[in-house]
Structure formats: structure tokens, C-alpha cells
């Protein structure tokens, strides 16, 4: 057996479309690899045991807690972080724009996780009811907003994605 403490693994990740080859110890969490090895600090880390949802990313298109996956397990997978949502011309995606319009964030700590969880719902079930949105977000904690505006933002984001119409912003209105 190799020396466990010094065992490292070469891991290939595609993050937001860009290939990364990183060399990590087996125990490195995907959340830490994204932040430290790929240099993408949009993914936030709160509890590191799956409870807060701040670290949510998409792995092969499915939402996952990046603190509950080893970087080495994600070898060969396709990862999308909040940075990957930005649209051409550095524009915010509809869901992000909706968070801005609805005041769906205050300190912003929970926001990347909220947005990444919401993306899945908005993409696959854009016409979700408020109950469905609340059920989806029941694993994401926010210590600031009181959730009302987050729910509004996700519903607005879903509608915008379904209709293809840009969200009316304070600037464009």
C-alpha cells in the first residue's frame, strides 16, 4: 500500500467548460479543490457537512453538495459553478438577475448555493409553484433574508427562463 498521508491523485475536471488537471490528496473535498486548485472562489463553504447548501454545484448537470464529494471521485466529471452561469458579455444569467431584482440576497454567503440549486429547478421545471420552490430550497440555509425574496427570485428566474424574455431591471425599465 502507498503511504496514505502522501498519496495524491491526478484528477481531470471540466469546470465551466475549462479543463483542469489537478493533483490532490484523496481526502481533498471537491469544494476545496474548486476553490483552491481551480481558483474559483464563487463556491462558498459554510458547514462542510452537507447541512447549509452554500457549496452546491452541478456535477454532470445534477446539483450536488461539493463538500460531500471527494475531488478524486469527481475525476472525469463535468462541474458547473456559479461562475459558469455568466452569459456572453459578462451578463448575469436570468436567475442571478432575478436575485438582484428581488433583493434575494443580503450578505451573499448563501447565494451561490441558492442559485445553483435553483438553476436545476428553473431549467427542468420553470413553472414551479411556490410550494415546489420552497421544497427545493429546503436544504439551503440563509441567515439574512428570511427567504421570502429568495423564493420570489427563483420564481421570477424560472418564468424568465421559460419565456426567454429578459427580466426587466431597474436600468432597463
Amino acid at each position: 500500500m502507498t503511504d496514505t498521508a502522501h498519496e495524491t491523485h491526478e484528477v481531470d475536471l471540466v469546470v465551466n467548460g475549462a479543463a483542469h488537471r489537478i493533483d490532490v490528496p484523496a481526502r481533498k473535498l471537491l469544494s476545496d479543490a474548486i476553490r483552491q486548485d481551480c481558483g474559483l472562489t464563487g463556491t462558498h463553504v459554510g458547514c462542510e457537512h452537507g447541512v447549509c447548501g452554500a457549496c452546491t454545484v452541478l456535477v454532470d448537470g445534477t446539483p450536488a453538495r461539493s463538500c460531500l464529494m471527494l475531488a478524486v471521485s469527481a475525476d472525469g466529471r463535468d462541474v458547473t459553478t456559479v461562475e459558469g452561469l455568466t452569459e456572453p458579455g459578462d451578463r448575469l444569467s436570468p436567475v442571478q438577475q432575478a436575485f438582484k431584482e428581488c433583493h434575494g440576497l443580503q450578505c451573499g454567503y448563501c447565494t451561490p448555493g441558492m442559485v445553483m440549486s435553483a438553476i436545476d429547478l428553473c431549467t427542468h421545471h420553470p413553472k414551479s409553484s411556490e410550494t415546489e420552490v420552497r421544497a427545493l430550497l429546503d436544504g439551503n440555509m440563509c441567515r439574512c433574508t428570511g427567504y421570502q425574496n429568495i423564493v420570489k427570485a427563483v420564481m421570477m428566474g424560472g418564468e424568465a427562463m421559460a419565456s426567454g424574455q429578459p427580466i426587466k431591471t431597474a436600468e432597463t425599465a
Binding site: T4, A26, E48, A64, C67, S73, A135
Partner: protein
């Protein structure tokens, strides 16, 4: 905190996985990681070797027929919850899975991993026990079938040997003239329940109640199933009989206190839920039609 160092193996066949488990005494299977990763990060577990079975082929199938539902070790909670055939053959599966954790956890965590984790606060070990299902364990020594009743031996402890892994599980179909329901009370949606109850209620051809069984979460060290039939000796689903059933249940459970709830409060909730869930299982017989 971060996990302690370990060696990582990622077998691509079942034989390789079993050989790795046989070779390393302090190895653990890594499936969805939704229970194991928190344990590693909190350093409540520090295995020397992790055997990541996620790339072992053939373990992600759900197969349903008139006898029951079989699902492999890599079937995610979310996939089983969505499976229309599984839901039809054994409706309690889908109803219970909706109560397991949050959607994001369900899309990664495996149902068989939950069965292996053997948490008496988790829905699926209790549901497996209530339904009388079984799991299949494999090792280099061969394969064996373990009945739910024999699987759980203590808090977070199953009878699996260190070199064994579960390859799948099976639950029987909902029998004719039987209704099933589950409900739980937790502090926040998706949290482990303070108390949960699932029930199977069977009636005879005349509609008289013949058998009432209930499974309990978080009130004992291992998944607990209580036969409540004696409370319904006259065949009626009446308020008096439901009250008697609560008495029977209360005598059988041994809730503990923790920071979330006192033992008395858990006992109270178990009574409220027994009444609610047994009545709901019975009511589902008429609302869903008898199959």
C-alpha cells in the same frame, strides 16, 4: 474540519471492489457519500482505505414486477423516488423517499447506502423492516441474502462483515387490500425526524381490519416494527381502537432524550403519529381503490 488521510481505490468491477474489501481490514465502501463524507469531515470515522464503488457497472438498476421492487446499490434516492413502476408496485417507497433529506442530497445519496448505514433515525431501514424486505451482501466468499429483521443489530450497526458490500435490496409489493402511509415530525423540512411512523393496514374481503403494523423512527436503537393488530380485534378503524393502538405502541418504544426533544415529547409524538398514520393507511384503501 477536514477528513483524516486515507487511501482511495476506485474499482471498475464488482470483483475488484470485493477483492479490495477483502484485502484491507479497515476499508469502507463509498457510495453517495452523503452520510460518510460528513462522518469523515467531523472525524467520527477515519478508515484507512475508501473503496469508491460509483464506477462499478450494473448496480444502478431498478426492477419491478408483481412480486416486488429490486434496486441496486447505486440507485440514488431520487431515481427510486421517480420510478413510476416502483411507486405503483410498492407505494410506500416513494412516499418515504420524499421524506429523506433534501432534493440535492437525494440526487446523490443511494437508498442501499442508507440501508447499510443502519441509522434508526433514517426512513429506509425502517421501511425495509416494516415491509419485510431483504438485502444482498457480496464478498469474495460469496453472496448471501439478509432479511431486514436480521440486518440491524445495534445503533448504526448492521450484521455486515467488514469484507462485505451490499449489491442491492428488494422489497415486496404492497399486498392486496392493504394500505400504506408514512409521516414524520422534524424541526425543519428534510432534517432527520424527531419521530416518524409508517404503517401497513390490511383488511379482509368484508372490509374488516385484519392486520395493523407500524414502523417507528428515532425511538429505538434499531428500526422498530410493532404489531398493533390486537387493538383492532373487532375489525373497526374507530377512535377507541386507535387510542388502544397508541397504548400498544407506547409500551413497545423506548425513546431517548437528546438536545432536540425529551423522551416524553418523543413518546407523545409517536402517539399522535400512530393515530394519524394508521388512519391514513386505512383511508388510502378507499381513496386509491383496492388492487
Amino acid at each position: 474540519m477536514k477528513p483524516a488521510p486515507f487511501s482511495y481505490l476506485r474499482p471498475t468491477t464488482l470483483d475488484e471492489a470485493l477483492a479490495a474489501l477483502a484485502e484491507h481490514a479497515n476499508a469502507k465502501v463509498l457510495a453517495g457519500g452523503q452520510s460518510l463524507l460528513p462522518l469523515l469531515s467531523m472525524r467520527l470515522a477515519a478508515p484507512a482505505v475508501l473503496v469508491d464503488v460509483n464506477r462499478v457497472p450494473g448496480l444502478d438498476e431498478v426492477r419491478s414486477d408483481e412480486d416486488g421492487v429490486a434496486f441496486g446499490a447505486l440507485v440514488r434516492h431520487a431515481a427510486l423516488e421517480r420510478d413510476a413502476d416502483a411507486r405503483r408496485v410498492q407505494p410506500l417507497l416513494g412516499r418515504a423517499l420524499r421524506l429523506v433529506a433534501h432534493p440535492t442530497i437525494r440526487s446523490q445519496g443511494t437508498t442501499v447506502g442508507s440501508l447499510a448505514h443502519a441509522d434508526a433515525a433514517a426512513e429506509m431501514p425502517m421501511v425495509l423492516t416494516l415491509l419485510g424486505g431483504h438485502v444482498t451482501a457480496a464478498s469474495v466468499r460469496g453472496e448471501r441474502r439478509i432479511e431486514a429483521d436480521d440486518l440491524y443489530v445495534g445503533p448504526l450497526e448492521s450484521c455486515l462483515e467488514h469484507d462485505e458490500m451490499l449489491t442491492g435490496a428488494w422489497v415486496p409489493a404492497l399486498p392486496a387490500r392493504t394500505g400504506a402511509a408514512i409521516d414524520e415530525i422534524s424541526r425543519r423540512h428534510g432534517d432527520y425526524a424527531l419521530v416518524g411512523v409508517a404503517s401497513l393496514v390490511s383488511v379482509g374481503e368484508s372490509g374488516a381490519v385484519e392486520s395493523v403494523r407500524a414502523g417507528y423512527l428515532s425511538v429505538s436503537d434499531t428500526p422498530l416494527v410493532v404489531d398493533l393488530s390486537e387493538a383492532f380485534a373487532d375489525g373497526e378503524m374507530s377512535p377507541g381502537n386507535l387510542a388502544a393502538a397508541v397504548e400498544v405502541a407506547s409500551a413497545a418504544i423506548e425513546p431517548d432524550a437528546d438536545i432536540h426533544a425529551t423522551a416524553d415529547y418523543r413518546r407523545h409524538l409517536a402517539g399522535v403519529l400512530t393515530r394519524r398514520v394508521v388512519a391514513a393507511a386505512h383511508a388510502s384503501l378507499t381513496t386509491e381503490g383496492v388492487s
